[in-house]
């Protein structure tokens, strides 16, 4: 009887396991897809487990409710401080002579109020998705192709460092501290609008940041391989990219088609063309735009609609090229030409560029991931416009040419710095080191010796998200520039 029953059950039960089930799987086209599918499946389980964990134990969270409520008091003051930091940085920029009227557009975007924020908010209310990201390992092409709005959300606020120090040790780099503080104080208008935040695990602190931020916003992590020539590096990274694609598709509910992806790659390539036309201006003997304004233009791309940014920057290029013909310049042709390198300089932390340019030098180029080495520095080089090749090209672009010090070996960075020193005829390099950004500090000695071979002086500056060291920095920068000037006159 029992045997018969079980036999019947075996017969009537749909066969779900084994080869048949696999052949019904919608993702059976390639090994990679299958792996992505398995990954998604695993991810779903993880999410489920996390949610149960969340509801059970509140104390497993990093940011407790008590901590958040204690911060509510200082929120008003911090908001006012952040606004005044932006206003002061903008006032410094507006004080420059011969500043182009077209810069108003960029000023309005980096004010981080109204305008663009309302626009994103309206988009979101209309059903659009907003995807925030940190670092420059996130393929913006994919986000654009999925129809979501990409926003890079690194933070440069000084006043938000303090509250996050209740959680993080003081040795942690201020970029991470400031961003976490922004989240804790709910100060960033864009973070509030984000449906999801993509956190690449570039350095140790960013990895942990992704864990803490889970208390505020849904997080997608990207595993960044640190050895580019590792055996499985390419495979791992390609899987990361394709799984990001399927996650984006799930978020927006629409498939990333070949057509959409191609269009977004071409759109970013167009923006890149304009960006490089703009950067070419730095090679002139006297510049039509100051270096800090140029950095502002570059960074505006993080927040703004890409098409509009491209249009506006094209207009700006046309005007600046006309200025060169007319001889309207903002910098003295004898002014020391400075290159910035090292840790990212994120709006509104415009302290260092302001100090350098107010002392009479001019920033002609930079080696910062927040500036020239950002998303628009290298192309997504597609050979065949098939989905496979586009994804492979995107994967290559967001790993291989990046010279973040989180990679080893990172010899390419030395070549890149040397090339920029030659191309932009740089007189001196200012190496910006944020306190706690240890990988940048480790690379400093190597970059210094590489630049010594080129007979280019370097000034290593260690600083933090604070206004306290401005006087001391000014003295050091003045001395450095004086040295360059005298060397130039002797030559």
């Amino acid at each position: 009887m029992r045997v018969g029953l079980s036999r019947n059950r075996w017969r009537t039960e749909p066969r779900r396991e084994g080869i048949l089930a696999r052949s019904h799987c919608p993702h059976r086209h390639s090994r990679l897809d299958r792996l992505g599918h398995e990954l998604d499946h695993g991810m779903g389980l993880m999410e489920k487990r996390d949610r149960t964990l969340d509801s059970k134990t509140n104390e497993k969270r990093y940011v407790s409710d008590t901590l958040l409520s204690s911060l509510k008091v200082s929120r008003e003051r911090a908001g006012a401080n952040a606004r005044s930091q932006i206003t002061l940085a903008l006032a410094d920029l507006k004080n420059q002579n011969e500043r182009s009227a077209l810069m108003d557009y960029y000023d309005s975007i980096v004010r981080l109020q109204r305008g663009r924020v309302d626009e994103v908010d309206a988009l979101r209310k209309a059903g659009g998705k907003v995807v925030g990201y940190l670092c420059m390992f996130v393929p913006v092409e994919l986000i654009c192709a999925s129809g979501a709005v990409p926003l890079r959300l690194d933070s440069g606020f000084y006043c938000t460092v303090m509250p996050s120090e209740q959680l993080l040790p003081s040795e942690v780099c201020p970029v991470v501290k400031s961003f976490l503080g922004t989240a804790m104080l709910d100060l960033s208008p864009y973070l509030r609008l984000c449906d999801v935040l993509i956190c690449p695990g570039s350095c140790g602190t960013k990895t942990k940041l992704s864990e803490i931020l889970e208390d505020f916003v849904p997080i997608w992590r990207i595993e960044v391989p640190h050895y580019k020539d590792g055996l499985s590096t390419k495979l791992l990274w390609q899987h990361e990219i394709s799984s990001l694609k399927s996650k984006l598709e799930k978020l927006t509910g629409q498939k990333i088609t070949k057509r959409a992806l191609r269009r977004s790659i071409e759109q970013i390539e167009e923006a890149r063309g304009v960006f490089h036309r703009f950067r070419e201006l730095g090679k002139f003997k006297s510049l039509p735009i100051s270096g800090r304004d140029a950095m502002l233009v570059t960074q505006t791309m993080w927040y703004d609609d890409l098409e509009r940014w491209t249009e506006k920057t094209r207009e700006l290029c046309t005007e600046l090229e006309k200025r060169i013909q007319d001889g309207v310049i903002v910098s003295h042709s004898e002014a020391p030409r400075i290159m910035l390198a090292g840790s990212p300089i994120i709006w509104p932390n415009w302290k260092l560029p302001n100090l350098i340019e107010e002392s009479g030098a001019v920033i002609v180029c930079d080696d910062l991931c927040s500036g020239d080495q950002g998303i628009l520095s290298d192309p997504v080089n597609v050979d065949e416009w098939t989905m496979q090749d586009m994804l492979a090209a995107i994967a290559d672009r967001y790993l291989q040419p990046i010279t973040c010090p989180c990679f080893a070996p990172n010899d390419k960075r030395l070549d890149k710095v040397a090339r920029m020193v030659k191309d932009y005829r740089v007189d001196g390099v200012v190496y910006h080191q944020l306190r706690g950004c240890y990988i940048q500090k480790i690379e400093f000695s190597r970059i210094r010796s590489a630049l010594r071979d080129l007979r280019t002086p370097v000034l290593g500056i260690e600083t933090d998200y604070t206004q306290e060291d401005v006087g001391q920095l000014k003295t050091r920068i003045d001395a450095f520039l004086e040295m360059i000037q005298s060397a130039k006159q002797n030559a």
């Binding site: 057509r259 269009r263 167009e270 490089h276 036309r277 290298d378 080089n381 090749d389 390419k412």
Partner: protein
């Protein structure tokens, strides 16, 4: 500025027309080219060197001194050609390569991806071309031995490559279709079986046949002496990995600089065209620079296929 890839496809199309469609039939020269252009075509201008080689090795010693001198002259002509252009014959002229490139283009346009042979397999598979080359030479010499040359085995094994080469059915059937050859033309059965494998292989793997092609094996023996060279300058290279990805022959490019031409490089210069580094990849012909990569940004892209649809 004309793109290298357009130049190449033009050169391939022209050679295909000249070599295989026999418009210039009365101009038969008898010169063996270092490419797989079939010798069985009714009207042709050039010979296939591998045919000449096989025939020479099998019958050379028996056919008298005039034939031997003739054969030696053919070999000299081939060596000069191999030294001048080397594997560029495969990338720019070979009609079999052209067919594969056209199929690849068609596949890419229809949006289907290709199969990338994993490096660890590729490393072993690409040695097959030398095995095939050695087999051709050994068999051709072997059937000239006194015991064998009288037996039935000689007829079975005579011209071993021509019995399997996909170029033979491909181009013969083409000429039959065009009415140049009579429909009764004999084609070896084995090569007819191999033809669909070749066609599917060319669609699935970029330049699939070339991985095992004995003609490329023969040419690549000269690759160190090749006059067409390919260089990479370390200080201009951004290490973006484009050259490795776009290489149809999957020639390993990572982590090397200086002379980066590999034995399997067919000098298609797709890597030079795609390289975003200014003068990072360059090509020289006898120390004279013929090509160099150019920095490109915001390259005017052709209107998307998507937009037209």
């Amino acid at each position: 500025m004309v793109k290298t890839s357009s130049l190449r496809i033009t050169s391939q199309t022209l050679s295909f027309i000249v070599i295989n469609l026999a418009f210039l039939a009365p101009l038969y020269t008898g010169i063996p080219l270092a490419i797989l252009s079939c010798n069985y075509l009714k009207i042709r201008i050039f010979d296939c060197f591998l045919y000449v080689l096989q025939e020479g090795l099998s019958t050379g010693s028996l056919a008298g001194t005039t034939y031997l001198y003739n054969f030696a002259a053919m070999v000299v002509v081939f060596v000069v050609m191999a030294l001048l252009l080397g594997t560029a014959w495969c990338g720019w002229i070979c009609p079999l390569g052209y067919v594969q490139d056209v199929l690849t283009k068609g596949r890419a346009l229809s949006g289907i991806g290709y199969y990338r042979v994993p490096a660890r397999i590729q490393r072993h598979v690409k040695l097959l071309k030398y095995v095939f080359l050695a087999a051709i030479v050994v068999i051709s010499l072997g059937i000239a031995l006194p015991n064998i040359r009288e037996s039935k085995l000689r007829n079975t094994l005579f011209l071993p490559l021509c019995q399997v080469c996909p170029a033979k059915p491909l181009f013969l059937y083409l000429q039959i279709l065009l009415g140049i050859l009579p429909p009764t033309t004999q084609v070896p059965l084995l090569s007819i079986v191999i033809l669909p494998i070749f066609l599917v292989g060319a669609i699935a793997i970029r330049r699939g046949w070339c991985i095992v092609c004995p003609n490329l094996g023969l040419l690549s023996l000269f690759h160190r002496l090749n006059a067409v060279s390919l260089f990479r300058r370390r200080e201009r290279c951004t290490k973006c990995g484009t050259c490795t990805r776009v290489c149809a022959m999957d020639a390993p490019n990572d982590g090397i600089h200086g002379d980066v031409s590999r034995p399997e490089c067919i000098r298609c210069f797709q890597c030079v065209e795609m390289c975003p580094g200014n003068a990072s990849r360059t090509s020289y012909f006898f120390q004279r620079r013929i090509l160099g990569s150019k920095f490109h940004a915001g390259r005017p892209v052709k209107k998307s296929v998507a937009d037209r649809a």
